[in-house]
């Protein structure tokens, strides 16, 4: 199986049941299809139904409500957060057929993110020995002449020697002719000692390492070299991320002008105000006419019906900063010039969901009120087509 970012597509689906959060998926019933193309790809479906999950490897994506398509590499990149989903969607390297809201809301909610624990490459003694020349510290080995032989046993057995002479160090395979000291040990013990997972002193003590020749020279060797560091260790480095929802409660003042507007809503009336200089109406009313820079005191009742001048049909689910909850899509804010308003002064409100497909510029609309308005933006449920 081809790996990307240290994992395979199969890993994603194999771990899905473990990462599933049934309590978050109680009211969900959906069949999601996944197609990963290219090397290491394949097709899978995930069926989430009332808190259960069934993952299947399939040959075609049949009956899926939503399907996700991408090259295996993009697939893993996005799943692991190495590629930003929105960038992949924008460039169409990732395609979603059906309701895109999934990517935004459902999946992060019902699955614990897929992560890879970077696999440590199995480090061989040879990998370390070939770097020893570059780790040599001549300033510490002044006047030292010695040959150290390593007789490494086990599956990765090999023989090496380090020659230190005239402030230089040479590493070569096989034994030098005159060894000052010879160390015999399993190759894995050597790599363990060099990377710090095995304590050298206890390895000597426990007999894992056998020494023939000048014992003091063997002990001194470490002094002449910089500490070895595994180059792969850096890539596996954890970068800390702190996730928090910062929330501060607020007391928003209405002031007298917006207060009057809300008082109007309680009587199912839209109370705008009118500039004493240019006569433009403002809705909702504001303290001042920004154009004339003059205080506005006169209130006028506008609408309730009006004409649509523009509209937005929103498919993108974003959080509502007033509540922190994700909005339900699609929804449609429409711009309405209410009857009695100045021609420039549009008012924005949400259209009834059922009317979204029939909206057009010039359409006549009317507000639908809650039964008992309390003076809030929730008093108007929505505007609907006035037919």
């Amino acid at each position: 199986m081809t790996e990307y970012y240290g994992a395979t597509v199969v890993d994603i689906f194999d771990t899905m049941p473990k990462r599933f959060k049934p309590e978050e998926a109680k009211d969900v019933d959906i069949l999601i299809g996944y197609e990963a193309t290219g090397e290491g790809g394949g097709m899978w479906t995930a069926h989430i139904k009332h808190g259960t999950l069934t993952v299947s490897k399939v040959n075609e994506l049949k009956g899926c409500k939503t399907t996700i398509h991408a090259h295996a590499e993009t697939f893993l990149g996005v799943t692991l957060g190495k590629i930003t989903a929105i960038d992949a969607l924008t460039s169409q390297k990732l395609r979603v057929v059906g309701d895109i809201r999934f990517l935004m809301t459902l999946l992060p909610k019902v699955f614990v993110p897929f992560t890879v624990i970077p696999k440590k490459k199995v480090l061989k003694a040879r990998d370390i020995l070939v770097t020893m020349e570059s780790l040599f510290r001549p300033e510490r080995a002044e006047g030292v002449t010695m040959n150290v032989g390593y007789d490494l046993t086990g599956p990765d057995c090999c023989q090496w020697s380090l020659q230190i002479k005239d402030g230089k160090c040479k590493v070569r395979e096989g034994f030098a002719e005159e060894l000052t000291v010879k160390l015999t040990m399993n190759a894995s013990v050597y790599t363990g000692m060099m990377t710090g997972t095995i304590d050298g002193a206890s390895a000597f003590t426990s007999g894992q390492v056998k020494i023939e020749g000048d014992m003091m020279a063997a002990v001194a060797t470490a002094r002449y070299f910089h500490k070895y560091t595994d180059p792969d260790a850096k890539e596996a480095e954890e970068l800390i991320c702190l996730r928090v929802t910062n929330s501060i409660e607020q007391r928003f003042a209405s002031g007298p002008v917006m207060g009057k507007w809300f008082a109007g809503l309680r009587e199912k009336k839209f109370l705008g105000n009118k500039c004493p200089e240019c006569s433009r109406t403002q809705i909702p009313p504001r303290e001042i006419c920004a154009i004339c820079r003059i205080r506005v005191n006169e209130f006028v009742e506008l609408g309730p019906k009006g004409t649509v001048t523009n509209y937005d049909i929103v498919y993108f689910a974003s959080p509502d900063p007033l509540t922190g909850a994700v909005r339900d899509t699609p929804y449609a804010p429409i711009y309405i010039v209410l009857d009695g308003s100045s021609e420039r002064e549009a008012f924005a409100f949400e259209l009834k969901k059922e009317d979204i497909s029939r909206i057009n510029v010039g359409a006549r609309v009317r507000p639908v009120w809650t039964e008992n308005p309390v003076g809030s933006f929730k008093d108007v449920l929505y505007f609907e087509l006035d037919q």
Binding site: N246, R251, G255, V257, E287
Partner: protein, 382 residues
């Protein structure tokens, strides 16, 4: 400083209140704008009126991204230039001056607002002024930061709990004469001494009260000031300075940033000895210990002699905070604007019951950040 001069032609203050629950920022600023226009008759004519506005507010305190967008209308900013000093009010004045000196505009309107009462706690907001990994988790905010600084400064300067009580009682005496102050009722020293510890060694009454307010000013070039006032107040010096962020990197009692800011502002104003040259001082004493400490940084009090400064009547001698100061309550973001507004009134002889005679020069000071990380100093002359 360049040879040209910039004048403050008018100031308007909204009264500081503990909870303006019945007013939006827009309503507060509109009152200020109308006051300024009534005083000066300026307009927003494209050629001859105000076409640059420097506002001062903060997205956190307003709970609003681009807080200046919420108030553009009442700033007169429609189809005009507007820039928000998101830092602290006194800098808005300093920056507005530079806009005039640059030749870009000859009139600048400065408008600041803040309602500390809106958020559930101002300390929660200032906690978010710390980094997410080292500062916020231990609960740091501007209040407990000030408490750490207070202990260190009291140790260094011989300032006692009794001194702090005296500073607060005096602030209230003056606040009673200032119609714009928030906490104006008299307070005896004993009551301060008996008020509960909030954050040792700071007692509840050592801490400025939660305040809502707004301030406006009209600044003009030397050539045009005369169109708007007979009593221009000239800006002769301004500077500010930043100190290190981590407390550990700072000497909390050294006044590093304030000394540098003051030195640079005095230099621009040609002042060698502030004790002789300055008639009125307005310092941003958000906490009682800060009054003598900042006076030290401004050069009115000897190094480490804050206690003696109070004993010897330093605040009276140098006419410190005749407005009642920050201890009587201003919102933190615009305290500097209130400091400068009071200084302007004093220099114009319009300070009413708290007017001192013959005030010719004043220094207004403000600070922002935890335990005075950043300081600003403005020098004004009649």
């Amino acid at each position: 400083m360049t040879a040209k001069k910039v004048a403050i032609c008018a100031v308007a203050q909204h009264k500081n209140e503990p909870d303006l629950w019945y007013k939006r920022f827009q309503g507060m600023l509109l009152d200020v704008l109308e006051d300024l226009r009534a005083q000066t008759g300026f307009d927003f004519n494209e050629e001859t009126g105000v076409n640059t506005i420097v506002s001062c507010s903060d997205d956190f305190f307003d709970a609003r991204t681009i807080s200046n967008n919420g108030v553009t209308d009442v700033l007169g900013g429609h189809y005009r230039a507007e820039e928000k000093m998101a830092q602290e009010g006194l800098n808005a004045i300093g920056y507005a001056m530079s806009v005039i000196l640059s030749g870009h505009s000859d009139l600048v309107l400065v408008m600041g607002h803040c309602k500390e009462s809106q958020a559930e706690s101002r300390n929660m907001i200032t906690n978010m002024g710390f980094d997410p990994f080292y500062g916020r988790p231990v609960g740091l905010d501007y209040l407990n930061s000030a408490a750490l600084q207070a202990r260190a400064y009291m140790t260094k300067s011989g300032l006692t709990d009794k001194h702090l009580a005296g500073i607060v009682a005096r602030a209230r005496q003056w606040a009673a004469k200032n119609p714009f102050a928030n906490a104006r009722e008299a307070l005896e020293e004993g009551k301060v001494l008996a008020s509960p510890m909030l954050c040792d060694p700071l007692r509840q009454l050592h801490v400025y009260p939660v305040s809502d307010g707004a301030v406006g000013m009209l600044l003009a070039s030397e050539e045009r000031a005369g169109e708007f006032t007979d009593k221009p107040v000239w800006i002769t010096g301004f500077a500010n300075c930043m100190d290190s962020y981590f407390f550990g990197d700072r000497d909390l009692v050294s006044n590093f940033a304030l000394k540098k800011a003051a030195e640079r502002a005095y230099k621009k104003a040609g002042i060698n000895d502030p004790k002789k040259a300055i008639d009125v001082v307005e310092v941003m004493d958000a906490y009682a210990y800060q009054q003598p400490m900042w006076m030290e940084g401004l050069g009115f009090c000897e190094e480490g002699q804050g206690g003696r400064f109070i004993d010897e009547g330093g605040p009276g001698e140098y006419r410190v905070n005749l407005s009642g100061g920050m201890l009587a309550g201003n919102p933190v973001i615009i305290s500097g604007l209130y400091r400068a507004a009071e200084a302007v009134l004093q220099l114009r002889g319009e300070a009413g019951d708290h007017q001192v005679p013959d005030a010719k020069s004043a220094v207004a000071h403000s600070t922002t950040g935890a335990a005075g990380q950043f300081h600003s100093v403005l020098i004004l002359e009649a």
